[in-house]
Symmetry: C2
């Protein structure tokens, strides 16, 4: 989280134009461990192995070169995020989501994104809305998304995040980011696979059009339906991805 630099007012520092650089935040080991572990967890494919993935405090502390204390604090934070669950005298396990949970998360995401769309129609600048098209400028009739799934998937995520950001609502941004982190754990379904990719692009363009037209209700509906479509897709075809 970017910190609002608080410049303390000293009695007579009024005109001193010395570059008063904000002293380094010096992230603590606790936070470093948190970031490191979070990234590691997101990077690993949790659903590949049948047996649950376990973490070991001592091993981690040795690995990261710090004592167990900051590691434990980081674990506590990750547990709040729902990435990890520590069982009293048994160990720390990386949480695996069920299909139902993922579908549920995608629905919540749909709710938040449709609200973002609603807000955007009333506050965003035309220019910024139009800029959303750029995410898909590399795709078209002669370069179909379904022929470059991986690349399109990246553009897809970027588009959604940019969209939410346009709402200028920190809460919506943070909540959807959290949800996305969980949903993306399923990298097999890179946010809708080949068969869904085909319908994805037109839907995105439709959303942008509604936003440009400042049609609040329509933009909200299109954003909602688009993501609910993904939820329905996962619910119907995601069976094999979950054991």
């Amino acid at each position: 989280m970017p910190e609002p630099t608080q410049t303390k007012a000293s009695p007579n520092m009024a005109d001193t134009d010395i570059a008063i650089v904000r002293i380094a935040p010096e992230t603590s080991f606790k936070n470093k461990a948190y970031e490191a572990l979070k990234e590691a967890i997101l990077k690993m494919d949790i659903y590949a192995t049948p047996e649950p993935v376990m973490l070991d405090e001592r091993a981690l502390s040795e690995r990261l070169g710090v004592s167990r204390t900051p590691i434990r604090e980081a674990i506590a934070m990750l547990e709040q995020d729902g990435f990890v669950k520590t069982v009293p005298r048994r160990g720390i396990v990386v949480v695996r989501r069920t299909k139902a949970e993922i579908v549920d998360m995608i629905r919540a995401w749909a709710a938040l994104e449709s609200m973002a769309a609603r807000l955007i129609t009333t506050t965003a600048r035309k220019k910024d809305i139009t800029a959303l098209r750029d995410f898909f400028k590399d795709f078209g009739p002669d370069r179909l998304p379904q022929d470059h799934v991986e690349e399109y998937s990246k553009a897809n995520i970027a588009f959604h995040q940019a969209l939410i950001s346009l709402s200028e609502s920190p809460v919506l941004v943070d909540l959807t980011n959290d949800l996305l982190l969980h949903v993306r754990g399923y990298r097999q379904l890179t946010i809708g696979r080949k068969d869904r990719t085909a319908t994805s692009l037109p839907e995105h363009l439709g959303m942008i059009e509604a936003l440009e037209a400042r049609d609040t209700e329509l933009a909200e509906k299109r954003a909602r339906d688009h993501t609910l479509g993904l939820a329905a897709y996962v619910e119907a075809h995601g069976q094999e991805l979950f054991t």
Copy 2:
């Protein structure tokens, strides 16, 4: 203070014959501290005093009778929740939200609740939907909500939580609960004060009607508009509540 009192209560399993007692959850000090601090923070009126409310690790550990370690872990968790913010060598401060942040949270709440309403129209049982009316059975033309604001406010919260629960979506339930905890910090605006209370009841009944009618779009719209109404209210009249 925190002596090596690691002595746990002896398990008196002498009399019980085959009680299939589940593995004892035995909440840790860390979790106890988390719950205790969370409740304390929610209970205090953060916005009453002009200067920021600070917490002291050592004082808390003495207060709760445990060492600093579990306290620090609990603080780390609370920080993830956004209730608290620890500044390196300065202290732990209870976070105060700005009006804009509260409004933002209420909007997100509106988004989630409208999605809940949508889901309810397709899955909830008629009986459960109708049961929502019970929350307001004590109010009517001869006992106006605006004459019993405190009581009505409680019913209000309970209604919203029951509503979301009907969606049977753990994610929606958890996310809204978290948001509510933050928003409720402003107990002055007990979720819409007197002047808003008057319009609240009819809106709630309208929502219930739409749900019973299984009118997905209407239920969603009414739920959304109702809560967005609160957001607009706070944005317009909440000025004096924030410094």
